[in-house]
């Protein structure tokens, strides 16, 4: 997966790929239903090959707070949209997610997870979308563990248009 992302970066290492229309910003609220926690999980999406393309590199971080713990995820992965030209767009993704768990009264517990993502969005204007995602997580490095995040938010495609 990391090799895929590196290849994408190398192939797209021209100035055009870094223009604003290759980027989107997602601002989802997140509920974690394994170890209850709520928060925000903003994400930066980059379409290295085509500003209207299917393939996205996704980088995200956030902060979640719950009754027994807080956590800070840092994620790097991809998202593949299935019908990028349509108003309703399903997609899927996967990646790696570093989790810093902060259980109350306990030292920080780090873990590296694989995450998967089942996603869809609906365009409400040329540059704004309402998004929803369900994301199972499996921790392998730093102890086995489960996770399930549900996200609901908005996504802005750059440059912003009316």
């Amino acid at each position: 997966m990391i090799s895929t992302l590196m290849c994408a970066s190398l192939l797209a290492a021209d100035a055009q790929a870094l223009e604003a229309d290759h980027f989107s910003l997602g601002l989802p609220a997140e509920a974690d239903v394994v170890g209850l926690a709520f928060g925000v999980h903003p994400e930066l999406l980059w379409r290295p090959f085509d500003p209207a393309g299917r393939f996205h590199v996704r980088a995200a971080t956030g902060a979640m707070v719950g009754p027994e713990l807080a956590l800070v995820p840092v994620s790097l992965g991809f998202r593949q949209m299935l019908r990028p030209e349509k108003t309703f767009r399903p997609g899927f993704g996967a990646g790696l997610q570093f989790q810093a768990f902060l259980p109350y009264g306990h030292a920080m517990v780090p873990r590296l997870d694989q995450y998967y993502e089942f996603y869809f969005d609906v365009a409400t204007s040329d540059s704004l979308r309402v998004t929803a995602a369900l994301s199972p997580e499996f921790g392998w490095v730093g102890g086995f563990g489960l996770g399930m995040a549900a996200r609901l938010g908005v996504q802005m495609d750059f440059p912003l248009r009316d």
């Binding site: 394994v34 170890g35 027994e68 998967y116 392998w140 102890g143």
Partner: protein, 186 residues
Amino acid sequence: MLRFFPALLLLAPLASAHRPEPAQDELTIAKPKVSHVVGGNFETGDEVFRVLLDYDRPFAMPMEIMVPRDKELENHRPVFAIVGPGLPEPTNEQRLFLPLEVADGHGVFIEYNDRDREVYFERVMRRTMLTSGSLAVHLPSEGLYEVWIFSPDFTVGEFWYGFGVEEDFSGGGWGPIFAEWGLFGW
């Protein structure tokens, strides 16, 4: 990538974790060396949950009892007692403390859960618990041991009783997590 998803799910049972079991009035554990977490809830405070463990040889079994780290459960200190062959005969004080009669010829070990408790982060389900601390209890004989889990001060709330040394999730071992989400998930 998605084609690997089922493979990851198949790998999950190989990972280090405790097999979940909801507590019952009487729960028989078929493979008592396998790591289990028995989760239950004291609703009235006077319940006694019994766990039956049948060993084919003497064994040193790690055990602990936990409650969720929650302000409302600060004074909730459930206790477990192991009753069976070869353990020390209960004192009169212990007999008065226990909720059930110890049968003739059986002894008892009691985890009073009265020390400072550590915070334990349970990584699989991301739960933060207060634990009595793991004890390796020497079960000096083969045969049937009973674990009695009770709340001596009649406090109410959830508990987890953890024990075992081996991993085995065969036969739907993960099922109770989803069936009893309130106990093991959130």
